[in-house]
């Protein structure tokens, strides 16, 4: 028995350490970015910063703030998150409700299923979608970022499955009392589904905040880029600066003139809202994910 518990203890120590290391890989890169953003640029490009600022300065943040570009992109992102999330949530809720009905209550359900099912796995692709958005005159406007993805079938399925778990008796009682569909949805279904709604809310907000590719695609002038798109252009231009036929010295020269601290500050500021929102909503969404995926 004692031997057993001893080997168990050894296992526990190794296990805890291993999990700790994995967890650290998920947090240290961002600590590093924060440290770089608060360091002196010379030390940063020389690679002398690890997890603590070297030559502490808030210059990078002052510089970012003094640049109108960063803040106007943050403003566009905020608008996008607000408008986009409102539309997404509204559409998901009013669609998930009828779809959660049984076939005998809502005969056309099976046709709607086919209709949505096809779009889950087949689409027009990049160019045709671009042309539709162009024809609708949405290019360069915030609606190009908000409308194409306004209705997500996957999210609808998640909520629909949750709605199906709502006891039928509640709904019948409401109908007997003369409640219509809207009342039933808002007074019975939604209050019960709060964990699911919180999950969807979190994923939708973060999805909008993070989306960058549609910004690049549909905004002609970079001044209309949301934050994520703006950041992506910095990253992509970095990738393209270096090429294979450069000598090590050239690459070293190039890295010396880079403004590492400023880009770190921008990266960190872009992460910040997520790092704040995530812990607040995570209690709910752990449940929501589980409902959504293990139902099979």
């Amino acid at each position: 028995m004692i031997k057993e518990s001893k080997s168990r203890m050894a296992f526990n120590i190794i296990n805890y350490a291993l999990l700790g290391v994995v967890a650290l890989t998920c947090i240290l890169p961002f600590v590093h970015i924060l440290a770089v953003s608060l360091s002196n640029n010379t030390d940063a490009v020389a690679g002398r910063v690890s997890f603590w600022p070297v030559g502490f300065t808030t210059y990078a943040y002052e510089y970012v703030i003094s640049q109108g570009r960063f803040f106007s992109s943050v403003w566009i992102s905020l608008k996008r998150v607000l408008i986009g999330t409102a539309i997404n949530m509204f559409l998901v809720i009013i669609t998930a409700y009828p779809m959660s009905k049984e076939e005998k209550e809502f005969k056309a359900r099976k046709w709607y299923i086919v209709f949505f099912f096809i779009t889950m796995f087949f689409g027009g692709g990049l160019i045709p979608t671009y042309m539709v958005i162009n024809k609708l005159g949405l290019l360069d406007s915030i609606w190009a970022l908000v409308l194409p993805g306004a209705f997500s079938v996957w999210n609808m399925i998640l909520l629909m499955n949750f709605f199906r778990g709502v006891p039928k008796e509640l709904e019948e009682a409401a109908f007997l009392d003369g409640a219509g569909h809207v009342t039933t949805l808002f007074r019975i279904y939604l209050p019960i589904s709060l964990p699911s709604l919180a999950t969807l809310l979190l994923f939708t907000i973060i999805g909008h905040w993070n989306a960058w590719f549609d910004g690049i695609l549909y905004m002609n002038s970079p001044s209309r880029y949301p934050l994520a798109s703006y950041l992506s252009t910095l990253v992509i231009s970095n990738s393209n600066k270096v090429s294979a036929n450069m000598t090590m010295e050239q690459i070293e020269q190039l890295s010396k003139i880079s403004d590492k601290t400023v880009s770190s500050a921008q990266i960190f500021l872009a992460m910040l809202p997520i790092l704040i929102v995530y812990p607040l909503l995570q209690r709910y969404f752990m449940k929501g994910i589980v409902v959504g995926s293990v139902k099979g």
């Binding site: 690679g47 690890s50 989306a211 950041l231």
Partner: protein, 306 residues
């Protein structure tokens, strides 16, 4: 009484009409942004010219498809796509599974378990626009990893400019980003395993290892297989946003995938017809794969999408 039932029935019928009204907005959006673009795929069979439009452009049959298959880079992009996606699919099941099993062994310190779980989930929520920047900084010439190599007296490696390193980095960082999600799913499946089984096993003198092998793993086998099957539907999705963010012409031979190939062809070179043809080829193959995986999943565990 019967009158009351009748009125309920009647109102229910009216209600059905209202259910359709509720569906309407989503149907309109889906028509405009999903179905309308599908008609645009006609251009994959045309020599599409913007000024001629769909009606005026000449039909060329399968010529575009033949052309792209002969294009240098397309077949290698196809190969890269499959091999990157394959490793991503397998590892993004295996790594979270191992993590979930390990985390499940943390019994005494619930706080630690919760903390680890929360932290591992963080990268999942960050966009590739952000993570791309982070990865560039860490793997760059003066990044942390290379500083470490220099300290150890080794020559720095240009990870993102190196055809040997690029693919492993893409796969690792993607698995790293997504591992929190499936880990939570597996943890939930583990907690759903009947506790009585463990009690009985304990009485029979089974140790933790035996419990793991004989109870936990069989208990979550079905969800693991299900997720693997469904993952295989993504065999042509190697991660467009991630690769677009991190690749460069030097690593096209190992890192270019169909999606990035289509992107360059369509957006940068404005070869709409060729891009649409390449995209359609990918969609069609993906569609077949997804249908097969859904059929398999259905057979295996009466999984259904709706």
């Amino acid at each position: 009484m019967s009158k009351k039932i009748k009125t309920i029935k009647k109102s229910n019928r009216q209600n059905t009409r209202f259910l359709h009204v509720m569906m309407l907005p989503a149907v309109i959006f889906t028509c405009i942004f999903c179905y309308l673009p599908m008609f645009g795929l006609v251009m994959a069979f045309q020599d599409y010219k913007g000024f001629l439009g769909f009606t005026g452009s000449k039909f060329v049959g399968l010529e575009n498809f033949i052309y792209i298959f002969k294009m240098p880079g397309f077949l290698s992009a196809l190969r890269n796509t499959v091999s990157i996606a394959f490793f991503k699919i397998i590892l993004s099941i295996l790594v979270p599974l191992v993590l979930a099993l390990l985390l499940n062994e943390v019994v005494k310190h619930a706080r630690y378990k919760k903390l680890v779980q929360t932290v591992i989930f963080i990268p999942y929520f960050l966009s590739w626009a952000i993570l791309g920047g982070v990865i560039q900084q860490i793997l760059g010439y003066n990044g942390s990893i290379n500083e470490l190599l220099k300290d150890l007296g080794m020559t720095p490696i240009l990870f993102l400019l190196n055809n040997q390193w690029f693919r492993p980095i893409i796969i690792t960082t993607d698995v790293w980003k997504g591992m929190g999600y499936n880990m939570v799913v597996f943890l939930a499946a583990i907690t759903n395993v009947d506790i009585a089984l463990y009690e009985v096993a304990k009485i029979d003198g089974a140790n933790r290892w035996q419990q793991l092998l004989n109870i936990t793993i069989p208990g979550i086998r079905s969800i693991v297989i299900l997720l693997t099957i469904l993952g295989l539907g993504n065999i042509l999705n190697a991660g467009f946003e991630q690769i677009l963010m991190l690749y460069n012409p030097v690593v096209y031979s190992t890192g270019d995938i169909i999606d990035t190939f289509v992107y360059r062809l369509g957006i940068e070179k404005m070869e709409y017809s060729y891009a649409a043809a390449a995209g359609l080829f990918k969609s069609a193959v993906s569609f077949v794969f997804v249908m097969i995986t859904i059929k398999l999943a259905n057979k295996f565990s009466d999984y259904r999408v709706f």
